[in-house]
Symmetry: D2
Subunit: 138 residues, 4 copies
């Protein structure tokens, strides 16, 4: 088991289940997004406030390996690590584990950037500082 | 404030927010469904297990009054009451309150029935017993 | 069959199907919303543009009767009528029919209002005009 | 512009838009899934029928590059190519283009397999035949 900067616990809800009786593939992106936003908020970066201030944090690439499907009622957790990939890009490694045995469910890498009010990739000084506090050097 | 048989706590997730910056109208039905299923499971009625056994619990009518919109990060709770409306129909009264001040967000009445494997409305003896334990007489 | 002011055709997509093998209850609100927005746009009321202009068209009440469930691949259409319910409220009657036999699937009444940039119910002159062109007197 | 085996046209619906005023990242997986299922159905592989027959077509890996965001009302199309990646894996290349100028929106590679009723990866003879007709050798 890897070490994670952040962990968030979840439970599957029945409306997330599709006709195969498992959580639909797209729903995992919801889980991953919620985890990133909660993590960022805990470190002073409020996605909704940034959006209102016309700084848009956006995803530019997603890689997801689906290993084992979640089912109705399953409890699970998401572990998150973050690092700077380049001057303008940051990456989240996010893994899902089924409780209580921590069976691997999904591994994802989500790469994002920040767009300024003109829509150009630009990490604001404020965001730079928040990331610096996170000490995201790998 | 009314008394409720059951309460479930939630937090808004950012993917539930629409372009108006508030939780999209349809999402509240997800919250309400999850609350009903959790309540029923606690009383021995597992929606997913019933579905696998070809007993389908279905909604036949929904009435929702939207009073105040939920926003990013809001914490809220849903109170639930249930009663038998007729031999074949049961109703859930479900109200949403914003935390920490219990501001009313939404009031709903959701009416359901049970379909047997032939698709006919029919409350199985097992389901009848579970409801009886719930003492759902109004 | 009633007469409708507007009709929009749809096809069920598999990600809208839940564990019961039918379209999840909340998804119908998506279909209904999309139909209202397309209808309004055709009459000069662009929901997204209004939102950007801080005029928020919001739903205050929904009543939905679920009559027959939609399944994978089903083609269906939604008929819409609209009328003014009061000075500040307008109502949409929206019915869903399964193709090719127009089997009734769902009947809904959705009541809305318009909020001005201060969040107060207020129908702007521009909106009043658009509604007048629609000749929404019952 | 690449050549595609299959093309499906779409229009953004307002409930798919998130607080940033663009289609939420997870929604694109819905678009992609719907396109794959329509393509497969046209070639005799009905996802829902397979699911009922306990043959589950599942996604094992997704790679998505987000290039330009879709907004309210946007019309777009998805081009799809498919090839066999190995004896048990098939891959879909799916690209989204904004209409009317075919501006690139998203590029995705989705890898899937087929699970037999015991949950083991296994391509049934029937599925093998359907794929053979598709002539999926690259």
């Amino acid at each position: 088991m890897e070490e994670y900067l952040y962990r968030l616990d979840f439970q599957v809800r029945d409306y997330e289940i599709d006709m195969q009786g498992i959580v639909n593939n797209s729903i995992y992106q919801n889980y991953l997004e919620h985890t990133r936003h909660e993590f960022l908020k805990e470190h002073g970066i409020d996605f909704a406030a940034y959006t209102k201030g016309q700084i848009n944090l956006v995803v530019v690439r997603v890689e997801i390996d689906y290993k084992f499907p979640l089912q109705s009622g399953d409890r699970f957790w998401i572990g998150l690590n973050m690092f700077k990939e380049s001057r303008l890009r940051f990456a989240f490694l996010q893994d899902i584990y089924l409780l209580p045995d921590d069976k691997p469910v999904l591994k994802a890498k989500v790469t994002g950037t920040s767009l300024n009010p003109n829509g150009r990739p630009a990490v604001s000084p404020e965001l730079e500082q928040a990331f610096a506090k996170l000490d995201l050097q790998k």
